[in-house]
Point group: C2
Chain length 722, copies 2
Amino acid sequence: INNSDANIDDIGTYDDFHTIDWLREMSRNRLRHRQILYRKKESFFRTLKGLHDAWSGWLVVLLVGLAAGTCAGLIDIVTKWLTDVKLGTCSGKFWLNQESCCWNSHTAEPSGTGCSEWKTWATIFGVENSNTGLTYGVNYLLYIVSALIFASLAALLVKMFAPYACGSGIPEVKTILSGFIIRGYLGKWTLLIKSITAPLAVASNLSLGKEGPLVHIASCCGNIFAHLFPKYGKNEAKKREVLSAAAAAGVSVAFGAPVGGVLFSLEEVSYYFPMKTLWRSFFCALTAAFILRSINPFGNSHLVMFYVTYNKPWFLKNSKLGNYPILEVVVVTFITAAASYPNPYTRIDASMMIAELVKECGPVMQNNLCDYTASVVNATFSVVKDPPVTPIGSGLRTALWQLALALLFKGIITVFTFGIKVPTGLFIPSMGVGAIMGRLIGVGVEQLVYNYPDCALWKTSCHAGHSCVTPGLYAMVGAAATLGGVTRMTVSLVVIMFELTGGLQYIVPLMAAAMFSKWVGDAFGNEGIYDGHIRLNGYPFLDNKEEFTHTTLATDVMRPRRGDQPLTVIEQEGMTVGDLEHLVRTTKYNGFPVITSHESQQLIGYLYRRDLILALENAHHNNEHVLSNSLVYFTLHAPTPSLGGANDPVPLRLFNIVDLSPITVTDHTPMEIVVEIFSKLGIKTSTVVKRSLKLLGIITKKDVLRHIAQLNKQDPDSILFN
Amino acid sequence: INNSDANIDDIGTYDDFHTIDWLREMSRNRLRHRQILYRKKESFFRTLKGLHDAWSGWLVVLLVGLAAGTCAGLIDIVTKWLTDVKLGTCSGKFWLNQESCCWNSHTAEPSGTGCSEWKTWATIFGVENSNTGLTYGVNYLLYIVSALIFASLAALLVKMFAPYACGSGIPEVKTILSGFIIRGYLGKWTLLIKSITAPLAVASNLSLGKEGPLVHIASCCGNIFAHLFPKYGKNEAKKREVLSAAAAAGVSVAFGAPVGGVLFSLEEVSYYFPMKTLWRSFFCALTAAFILRSINPFGNSHLVMFYVTYNKPWFLKNSKLGNYPILEVVVVTFITAAASYPNPYTRIDASMMIAELVKECGPVMQNNLCDYTASVVNATFSVVKDPPVTPIGSGLRTALWQLALALLFKGIITVFTFGIKVPTGLFIPSMGVGAIMGRLIGVGVEQLVYNYPDCALWKTSCHAGHSCVTPGLYAMVGAAATLGGVTRMTVSLVVIMFELTGGLQYIVPLMAAAMFSKWVGDAFGNEGIYDGHIRLNGYPFLDNKEEFTHTTLATDVMRPRRGDQPLTVIEQEGMTVGDLEHLVRTTKYNGFPVITSHESQQLIGYLYRRDLILALENAHHNNEHVLSNSLVYFTLHAPTPSLGGANDPVPLRLFNIVDLSPITVTDHTPMEIVVEIFSKLGIKTSTVVKRSLKLLGIITKKDVLRHIAQLNKQDPDSILFN
């Protein structure tokens, strides 16, 4: 037996682009745990090892939290700096962004738009005092140029070093958490490149953002740290517990919303989420949030919104540009930058725009949005004090026009920003669109109330001639609604929103927004952005949220169908090493049922292809007397090696690598139950047996998914991997 | 077939104190759903029915939320009034409690301790102006008397009308949600009596509270409304989705913490919790919270804490009083009331005491706790402004003494309040103890800082001679820690706490408290209060949170064991009605495997006892030619009835009531996998088959539980029901 004990660690690992068997992984983990408990008494060292094993669960999430928080903090700072560098620089202290530059400046303007220390490029190149047109031109030009540099640099880095770093990565993270394996997707290179390119992409003012990528980055941290602990690194199921916590930490740092992060990980991303994980995820998310806050205290963590990717393959496939990623990025960036600069609402960072839109009008902010004909000061705390409603001022009129244009522009450009090969997101753009719409509607309603104070609709709630409308709230609700419509998030959305706004008082409108946007969205297609992405990429993702409602039987799904080749099986006795190697060479199956004999067809167990290959290599390596004509026994009682000539073949015992209790269903089992078994137990393969357990066939997860796709009138061949 | 179609509704229902089969219930629901979809096209009425079915999910949680909120609101008001009535009454307006009575009174004292309209009983009986001793005596006496009246009335009502209304009910709700059936536990009588007696019990100043009962009450609402919708009323699995939402609503109204409620339901109570349910539970919890707020706006929803029951059977069994519930209640109440009154901190409602302890010292509250030698006004916002630390004043010294005594007293009396037969809780008591300890420690640390300002521990964080200690925060953390230790709640505890305190800034200490209390608690025994209660009551609860870590095989657990009687089975052909009736009479099994014949022992399916009984009764009822000697066929192709004499027996076809695809495992399947299957799929029974599917035996959920109990060195017979 020892020849396959030698690499017991390799036995039970998986190939790239394969699905894991949760049940098997958990069993392996329990086995490992038992061994530790068993050896605990042996020595003090063993005891320490046991303790370390017990604590490693908390240790790893702590480390992940620290790492994720640090990454997020640095990314925030770099992004801010890069964004401001497009517009100007801090005289003397080029490493400061505008905010820090003007932090303790006496010339700082109340609205925080600038100070004397902060100089635009035009000023630096000394064209400030010449005609304003030139000034504007220079700033405009440098804005575009810097944007182009950032974007192309980002695209270049991604293309050269880490192609996996493009997009937001959330759909892939979700797929990985569901038990799929994509080697390198959460590797250190992805982490490094994504951490560098995300700020560049955001700073290039493309209509995308960094929060989605932050989730991916946090997951990378989780994966990397998991490898430090064999308990998690060597067990795919346990590793995913860490990844769930890491995803929660990612959302937590993206929003400064730990609870929302945990709920997001639970509701949206995770697949198998035991309660123990919930607690650790929360711990991880909190750690990350606090590290972030301590690194970047001035970070606008309470105003950033969340991004999501939307790499629609049809777009990539249909676009000629799609074949030239760098060029594509350059073109899109140029158009964006050129069109953005003139409009103050598209010039600034999208999240800053949203922040401005959701604000209420107070004495502090003197911007156009609050330019009513009456003095702004009266409008303070419009909810509390009910100041008299006033008609729109000229500044606000301009603002409304600019907003309308921004809405139009963003609506269009966002479509073209989809799926360019840099860390992208749709979240901020869509929220921006939502916020603009909300604000516009809000102001509209406000003026309606002003012009028709006696309308029955609001007569009771508003005292005649007094404002009871908060355009900022409309903007917030609009943003939430768009966001909900895009992602179909529900609880996590609401929780995140009220962690952002910090208060339960707005929960009713937010909840209503989330609810209706979800319902409306579901009316158009019952699929969130992640699931759509997953389906379009053909990942094998068995959604455990939706029910299987058809009446088919296992016999309809299993292989072989009538007229197919008979199933490839392994006999427990009588096959030679050569036969098995030929089997491995000639077939692509991930595993083979082991049966007593072709006559009786009695099922013994199930043998994974990878394990078989490893065992055979191993046998050759450990014992040169194992020849291609030596018999292989998958039974406990194999004959002892013949003590004849040195070249005689030595029989090979491989009993211990056979899974002796594969999940089996009968051919009459309804598929609804089979699906339940697959999704709840997270198994990869189930053998189908006749009443007399005569082996009839086999169902793989892929078959189930194809079957579902077929029943949903989708292309079964869209499921690509095994 | 129609003879068993006749009462298709009864087929597949369960008896009292039995466990449901989730897999089967979900299948039945899918079948029902398919029928609706299928008939949808038939007529407009059918279409409406389909729509109603689709919406009923939201409708029912809305109704539950409204009902739960209303109940909680009324209970709050009544409790407040009863509590105050012990001390006095509002002159002229007896229906007002002290707060409302003094609401717009000019004589109201700032600390809200009273006003001229509010008169103590002594005043009303005109002994006010005589010596203070008499005044005190009268108040004292009436305090005790009213407490006794309330308590005994509560005990009487519970004993007479709804014995299930005692305790907090959370453990039972948890058991029910795990798939157990206790008829009447969530019935209207329990709802009514518990809603009446909970305020009485609280007002009687026993060391117990109403929040735990609120969860039970909300669950009752859930159960009652579920019965209005066949989709939920007739399907035990679907009904439990509503109950999960109801439990969330219960916690939500108990704390005014909707998110915490959902997390509590998810983490602590619920067993099977699909994401759809999460969203609806959140909706339900929010509705309830807002109804409560609108009914009882002055409710101290942000200061009440949460209760839990702790009916330790050993206590009940060992106490003679336990046999005389009413007397027991009276005695405990008398002792409590008599000992509580003299001490200001035990006299008032426990939740009010906690509220006072967690408060910071400000100019508003002039009570002893803030009596430092320096003027109180300086101590305002002790965190923000860092006022100079001052030594303890005489008032505070008294307060500390009283607190110490209260701690001692509560610690003792709470033990004796366990499990008296009224709606009880341990939550407020334990939190009170925690809060007192916290406050004492807090003040201690404060004075330590004052006396040794140069100690390295706090020199850096506190500027010498300035306070940087908030005793209130210590109290809050203490309360959270005790609470966490008792219930082992983690995320939900922290979320509830910060929904109560309304802010993330205290989340670190709270989190640390929850974490360490859980770890310390687990060191003494890895079991929360609910699980302990469930185990002590012997409910069949298969915990899906803890892993099965042993190496036993299915063959070790299954029945029959070696030497036992052979398994009672049903042959698919050849058995008569008489045989089956005899089988039902003579055995107590919940179901029987159906096999081809005793010779081949090939498994066909599984037949539930209850279904068999119903089918037989039904057959007799529908067709008088079904005699006890008529053959029963569990096959598709049964012979046509013989057309002989009128009295000839008619063969009976019962194929459609047999479950043809029972979950099966082989005798070599490791128990860890069997347990996984049982808990994940929520099945009730699994058949065990040999490799050649020759039927070997059967495992019921009960066997699994007994097996686990045995392996944990517990009494297997403590599992009572099936």
